[in-house]
Amino acid sequence: MSLKDLISPFYVWQRAFEKPYTQKRPIEDRPGAPRYRGFHMNSEDCIGCGTCESICQNRAIDMVPVEGLEQRPGDSGLRPRFDYGRCCWCALCVDICTTRSLHLSNHYAWVTEDPDAFHFTAGTDPMPWNENSLGYRRDDDYHLLVHDRIEMEMLGPDESVRGFDEVMKGYTEEQAVLEADRCVECGICVATCPAHMSVPDYIRSVRKRDYETGLRLLYETNPFSSTCGRICTHRCETVCVMGYQGDPIAIRFLKRAIVDRVPAERYREILGDDVSDNGRTVGVIGAGPGGMSAAYYLRRLGYGVTVYEAQARAGGMLRYGVPSYRLPDDQLDKDIDYIRSLGVEVRFNTLVGRDVTFQSLLDTHDAVFLAVGLNQPSALRINGEEHPRVLSGLKVLDDVANGLDPGIGRKVAVIGGGNVAMDAARVSRRMGAEVTVLYRRRIEDMPADPDEIHESQAEGCTLVAQAIPVEIKPAASEAQVTIVWGEAEMVADDKGGRPRPVLQEDRMHEETYDCVIAAIGQGGQIDFIPSDYREQIEFKWNKFVPGDYQQTGLAKLFVGGDIANSRADAISAIEDGHHAARGIHRFLGGSADA
């Protein structure tokens, strides 16, 4: 010990003259740091996917309905409610939020006498911090989810245009697992899928590489899984929560990833479909996706099913309207053959009304399911359309599907913007033609799948948007035809419909082609139904309006598919078939639990 040690501590007195450290809370306000993790806020972007609830390690979050907030496709109508008796302010819910609607404010002090006030729905309950602009937000460069879709190998446009080989190669197992891994399993998509497939569940089975479970899940609602895994309109992906900050999950292709890995021979064993006869029969009109789907589920319930098909092969529009580079024949056959293998009888080349009467079907069967689809191409109804070089898109695709030469020539104009138009264009490219697509509206208005639009462009089709055909004229050569079209301006529809094109008469064009392929839409044909019966059935415009379970006013008749819904896609037809099968089963005295 030294003298220094004795004196040194008195140094402390120097501090007595310094400003004190203490802050006068609450007299002086001290806001939290700009990143402070304070109380929860939720913006209107929330869609109630519940991913915050899934990640919360404290189970502090409940998803609850909010008064005045309606559920709709893509929004569950639920909102997260926070229990501050459990919350630890880790903000994982903010990090994982798929829409980035959830934030924490920098508000950290709140006094109230009511302990239940600390149990509130963020964003919708009036909390004092709702207008705070500071607080914890996920950094742009920090992610707990994978936002980019795993790319699928596909034929390059140079290669794809040379033949009818399937363009999309399908995921490898590793790719599929990685893509499936991106899914947050919220299930928002299930409501939007027309067939309400168990999307999160089968995606999980891909992730777990459990394809048998996957196949069983697919077949619960969709016996056209190989087909839909390729050409489904994938409405589910439009609401996929992963789409808010990145790419939606490739739900369609993950379905394909399952069926691609299960050989057809094993279907029966895996699905364990029991087909003991219950002694009753159902007639199905049309072997398209709707009819065959109904046939499958009816057969599983023990009904004897006879399908009446006008064409020589089953599949309907999938067979004759979808080219093989999108849906190879053998893949469609895989689905259809399995359904037939359960004992579903398909009578080919049997047109109801010509080869067999509608009445006889009603007499023979306990119920009838009608899904004849839309197979009558709409006419252009412009002058000169009867020119022999004006072809129908459906006819061209039909010919190609049947191995016939549609005789399109080297320079082709396609009119329309739907999938039929895109397919007609791409088929024409494959036959070596130079293709121009004329469409009345904008490219973003095209009803065709975006993939189809992009691929057709990549393959060298020229898309001319806002082009309205007004007249067809003979050309100098008989093998050619001239089309007159005018440019269109888009005008808004004040009643809320899609924008409408209006012809600009001062901007007209004329061009000569080897042929014009019209693909502007289709209608249905049900003249085979006797008029007495028709009186009992409700129609709207050119479609059936079925009641619950797809039943019509003619009690024995159930309808579905393109002719009975406005969506006009395969998956909706498949669901109609499934739903009708349940309805028929109920109608015939069974339970709806099928």
């Binding site: 501090r15 939290g32 880790c90 994982l92 989810l145």
Partner: protein, 378 residues
């Protein structure tokens, strides 16, 4: 090695059973010492824990890998960051994820800032334990300045939840460097003050010199690590011996002493604070301002970590802090064991060192070992 409890006859009137704790000044968390005294001399000491047992290791077996990240920080209240780092590191090793360089620098900055904050709190504790309450007020205030920095960097003052498997949760805020340097300067100034009023204080010297001497041969027998070990003359520091993060790129000295008493241990820690400030200044200068701070992660909601096991350790203020993890390929961990240095320092070592000291010095002895009860119980 193991010394049996002396058999004392309490009814003889010579002995007194005295409970110190579970509330201790100078100790973070609750723990009790059951002292048997004769006069004011301690003849036996038993450490009692269990006041803070929250079953973290069990909780972690029932949560997914990302869900564990917010709870690990709670294992050591004054030093949550080491848990965050080690948890992240152990998961990264088992998954093969590599955190980017920028994140490694930010993590180092975090850990050293945490070390400084933790030492400041300890410094207050050791001062208070020997009657120097003013030191406690100074240092805890300065710790708060560091907590302000944590608040703006991580969004929270104590449970930062900032170091996440794969990297860190965000970039450094604008102007952080300047404010951090300012705080470092203030702390440095404070340290010189503390040296004058505490380490040069004859009362403090008199009471701590010769108190709780750890003989060198005890070090491995008792599993002693950190400053307690270095004060006994061992030049062992994981930051130098098994460098993690960016410690191999930082200049610092491993501080040692030879007396191995309470004063030597305190002096080692005091000097390590200066080394910490030195490292922090290097970090502030060299932390990359650009580039990713998080590795590409899988979807954490159903994150399956491949089967395996490993042990990752780091030099925390108290010594070897480590995470041992066994995984089985599922979305849940099979087993996590958290190795905290207080486990042996506060029980086996304290029970040994307390014997022969007097009642007034037990709190100071305890603080000189620098123990955190929550990391014992986990």
């Amino acid at each position: 090695m193991f010394e049996p409890t002396p058999q004392v006859d309490l009814s003889s009137g010579k002995y007194l059973k005295l409970w110190q704790g579970p509330q201790h000044p100078g100790i973070t968390g609750n723990m009790a010492l059951e002292l048997t005294t004769m006069g004011d001399e301690i003849v036996d000491c038993k450490t009692h824990v269990g006041y803070l047992h929250r079953g973290f290791e069990k909780l972690m077996e029932r949560r997914t890998f990302i869900q564990n990240f917010p709870i690990v920080c709670r294992i050591a209240v004054p030093e949550p960051t080491f848990n965050e780092y080690l948890y992240a590191a152990v998961v990264e090793e088992l998954t093969g994820i590599e955190s980017p360089e920028r994140a490694e620098w930010i993590r180092t900055l975090n850990l050293e800032l945490m070390r400084l904050a933790s030492y400041l709190m300890w410094l207050g504790g050791i001062g208070a334990a020997f009657g120097q309450g003013t030191v406690y007020q100074w240092t805890v205030t300065h710790r708060d300045y560091i907590l302000d920095l944590f608040e703006e960097m991580t969004g929270a003052r104590v449970y930062h939840m900032y170091i996440v498997p794969g990297g860190v949760r965000g970039r450094l805020p604008e102007g952080f460097e300047e404010r951090c340097n300012d705080v470092l300067n203030r702390v440095e100034k404070l340290l010189f003050d503390v040296e004058k009023v505490l380490f040069n204080n004859f009362v403090f010297k008199k009471r701590t010199k010769g108190l709780g001497v750890i003989a060198p041969e005890m070090v491995d027998q008792y599993g002693i690590t950190g400053p307690n070990q270095r004060a006994a003359g061992f030049v062992r520091d994981l930051r130098r011996d098994a460098p993690y993060l960016v410690y191999d790129q930082l200049e610092f000295d491993v501080i040692t002493a030879t007396e191995s008493d309470a004063y030597a241990r305190s002096w080692v820690r005091y000097q390590e604070m200066h080394q910490g400030i030195r490292m922090l200044r290097q970090c502030l200068e060299r932390t990359p301002r650009e580039g990713p701070f998080q590795a590409r992660m899988p979807n954490v909601l159903h994150w399956e970590v491949p089967a395996g096991e490993t042990y990752v350790k780091a030099e925390c203020t108290r010594g070897e802090y480590g995470y041992y993890m066994v995984t089985d390929g599922s979305e849940y961990v099979r087993r996590v064991h958290v190795r905290g240095p207080s486990y042996t320092h506060a029980i086996a070592l304290m029970e040994k060192l307390a014997v022969g000291t007097n009642i007034a010095d037990t709190a100071g002895l305890m603080v000189s070992l620098h123990t955190y009860p929550p990391e014992i119980e986990r």
